[in-house]
């Protein structure tokens, strides 16, 4: 396609380009305004948006000519950062029209992210869009495209499980806690041992609302220090066994060579709890809690391998959900393209002119049939006269239609013309 509105995208991402190159190509927020303006001042580019995150640098643009546009954007990225083109050619990818639309939809739905389904990228795309809008570097096509991309991302998140499952040990642990206790606010956590992972998991639980925190450690000072950072209370190591029943979640991470919590001990605790469920997270290696403890009713024990298995399964599941997401995206790309193709004025202009030419030929033929007395020069003159008449009448509408299709309500004009000239019959 060489005429009409062309959509292109040029960029690098974490899959094509190592970080040492990516960091050189990033656009800082501060300089974005100048960059956007510089691009849109080029006669080749009518609209543009720059998306720059730590994993990708992409420029979306609407251009007069696809090939020239791609060259221009690549040159711009290189020139802007003062890097020679030759070094970068192998990293750039570029897409046009359909593929550019599909790429944006995949990016904003987090299908192109390093961690599949992460939520951050959508916010970043939204920021890039609103920055571009505030500098008026976007127009009808990119506005529509990005608004659509946000809808698609929302749809993907709602209708597939792509963001549903935690893909880190602590998020998987929080998810489990929420599937056992629902609201974490009224629940308590006890740390037995002050391992780094245990601290991380506890912080994650606290960020989800857990208010009461107990910390027990063989060295009381360490327990006290960690309790202070977590806003909890420190326990004597020996007394944790008596206090165990108070905690809804217990995270163990001691360096003990043998199990410190056995089945009988847990059975006593669960009785004291009147069978209220308890969630045990054993991060220690060697393990701190005897595996038979999981046989007790209302006790749920996960060791580090169990949690890792959950994370792996969640990763796989996200991969599967990504396929469902692609179905949604494919449908939405088709919908967007249907709208996009209505913006192309050229086919409509050609049809309009053909229709007029048909009528002219019909009418001239009819008239000339009964005018045998005219010389062939006269007949030629009549042909020319009618031709120039048609051209004159259609000249302004053609120019205006081309101009209007570049504007916000272009598709309305196209529709009107098609209707007035009966082009869709």
């Amino acid at each position: 396609m060489t005429s009409g509105p062309n959509l292109i995208l040029v960029g690098v991402n974490h899959k094509t380009t190592p970080v040492e190159i990516r960091e050189k190509l990033a656009f800082s927020q501060v300089k974005l305004e100048a960059s956007l303006e510089q691009l849109v001042s080029s006669p080749e580019i009518t609209e543009n948006i720059i998306l720059s995150t730590c994993n990708r640098v992409e420029i979306y643009a609407r251009v007069e000519n696809t090939d020239r546009g791609i060259q221009l954007l690549q040159d711009f990225i290189c020139d802007y950062h003062g890097i020679s083109r030759g070094n970068l050619d192998q990293y750039f990818y570029s897409y046009c029209d359909n593929q550019a639309v599909e790429h944006l939809f995949r990016v904003s739905s987090s299908l192109d992210s390093m961690v599949l389904g992460e939520a951050q990228i959508l916010g970043q795309v939204k920021d890039a869009y609103s920055t571009a809008r505030s500098f008026s570097s976007t127009g009808m096509v990119l506005n529509q495209l990005f608004e659509k991309a946000f809808n698609v991302a929302k749809k993907v998140r709602e209708e597939t499980g792509i963001s549903e499952r935690g893909v880190s040990i602590s998020s998987a642990a929080v998810e489990l806690a929420k599937k056992i206790f629902e609201d974490l606010e009224n629940h308590s956590v006890m740390l037995v041992g002050t391992g780094e992972m245990a601290e991380l998991a506890a912080k994650h639980l606290i960020s989800y609302g857990v208010k009461t925190v107990y910390v027990a450690s063989r060295t009381y000072e360490r327990a006290a220090a960690l309790a202070q950072t977590l806003n909890g209370c420190a326990l004597d190591f020996e007394s944790f066994k008596e206090e165990m029943h108070r905690a809804d979640i217990i995270i163990t991470s001691t360096a003990a060579p043998t199990f410190i919590i056995g089945k009988e001990m847990m059975e006593a605790a669960i009785q004291k709890r009147k069978n209220k469920p308890i969630f045990l997270i054993d991060i220690a290696v060697p393990r701190d809690i005897a595996p038979e403890v999981n046989e007790l009713e209302n006790v749920y024990l996960y060791d580090i391998d169990d949690l890792q298995n959950v994370v792996n399964a969640n990763m796989e599941e996200r991969q599967k959900e990504a396929e469902n997401a692609m179905d949604i995206i494919k449908q939405e790309v088709t919908k967007f393209n249907n709208w996009f193709s209505t913006l192309d004025a050229v086919p409509t202009i050609v049809e309009m002119r053909n229709r007029a030419e048909e009528m002219r030929i019909n009418e001239v033929d009819k008239t000339l049939k009964n005018m045998d007395h005219l010389s062939s020069t006269d007949k030629e003159a009549i042909q020319q006269l009618t031709q120039s008449l048609v051209n004159k009448i259609l000249h302004k509408p053609t120019i205006n239609l081309k101009k209007k299709t570049q504007s916000q309500d272009g598709h309305i004009y196209l529709k009107a013309i098609r209707h007035l000239f009966h082009l869709d019959d």
Binding site: E158, I180, N275, N294
Partner: protein, 262 residues
């Protein structure tokens, strides 16, 4: 008129059941909204059906087995909608509404003849007995659904095999809480229903407790099961899996006693 609206209700519940299943597996928000709408439509049609029939027979829907089954389905939907409104557990519909549909479907095969009830004190006790028992049963049906969901969820968390239902279904705490709440409502009502039933029996010039074993024993069983779950929670902290199993067992006994009783 009552037949047409009955059929509309039956069909709505069937479609709603399918809708909730689709939602459970495929998570399409539109489908769940649609299913909710169908349940509301079904309830509306069923209310008309019961109203029209009652105005024709001259008494409430509690004499024949057909009427009682209809009325039970009606209470189940009402209590389901209240639960849904309070707890926002959309997936509960996938477990309750098919039950409603089945109760309605069974009632299709029951005699549609109107029962005769004498205009007297007897009628009062009969009304009380049936209404209280039916609300109790309907509450038990929610506990049954919550119990099944609990067992599915508990199994996944316990065995560490977290399938799609793990993400779809609510937490164990919510399901256990729901189970307890509906039994707390259902059990006293059912007990009162049981007592008013005995009074009705006396008014019918029968023994206060007519040891008709086939009829009475299942009811006693039902009462014992829910009594154990209800008092067990308060006394010894019986909860979680055992409470869920109790609610399921209790409802199986309810179904048995329902067909023996009417």
């Amino acid at each position: 008129m009552d037949k047409i609206s009955f059929n509309i209700a039956l069909f709505s519940y069937l479609l709603a059941s399918l809708g909730y299943f689709v939602y459970l597996v495929y998570r399409r928000p539109l489908v769940s909204t649609l299913a909710g709408g169908l349940v509301a439509l079904g309830l509306f049609a069923q209310t008309i059906s019961i109203g029209v029939r009652s105005s024709m027979t001259g008494h409430g829907p509690y004499t024949t087995s057909y009427e009682v089954a209809m009325f039970l389905a009606w209470f189940m939907v009402v209590i389901y909608l209240l639960t849904e409104w309070k707890y926002k557990i959309k997936d509960l519909g996938a477990f309750v509404i098919p039950l409603v549909f089945l109760v309605m479907l069974v009632s299709v095969f029951l005699s549609k003849d109107a029962g005769l009830v004498p205009e007297s004190e007897v009628r009062f006790w009969l009304t009380m007995h049936r209404t209280l028992s039916l609300i109790g049963y309907a509450a038990f049906s929610i506990a049954f659904a919550a119990g099944i969901m609990y067992l599915i969820q508990e199994h996944q968390v316990k065995t560490k095999k977290l399938g799609i239902m793990y993400f779809r279904m609510p937490s164990l705490e919510v399901l256990d809480d729901l189970n307890f709440k509906v039994i707390t409502i259902g059990f006293p009502l059912f007990t009162l229903g049981f007592m008013t039933g005995s009074i009705w029996n006396t008014k019918m010039d029968q023994a206060f407790f007519s040891w008709d074993l086939a009829k009475t024993m299942p009811m006693v069983m039902v009462w014992l099961i829910y009594g154990l779950v209800f008092f067990g929670r308060m006394a010894t902290g019986l909860r979680g899996k055992k409470a869920a199993q109790g609610a399921i067992l209790g409802f199986v006994a309810v179904i048995g006693s329902f067909f023996l009783h009417i």
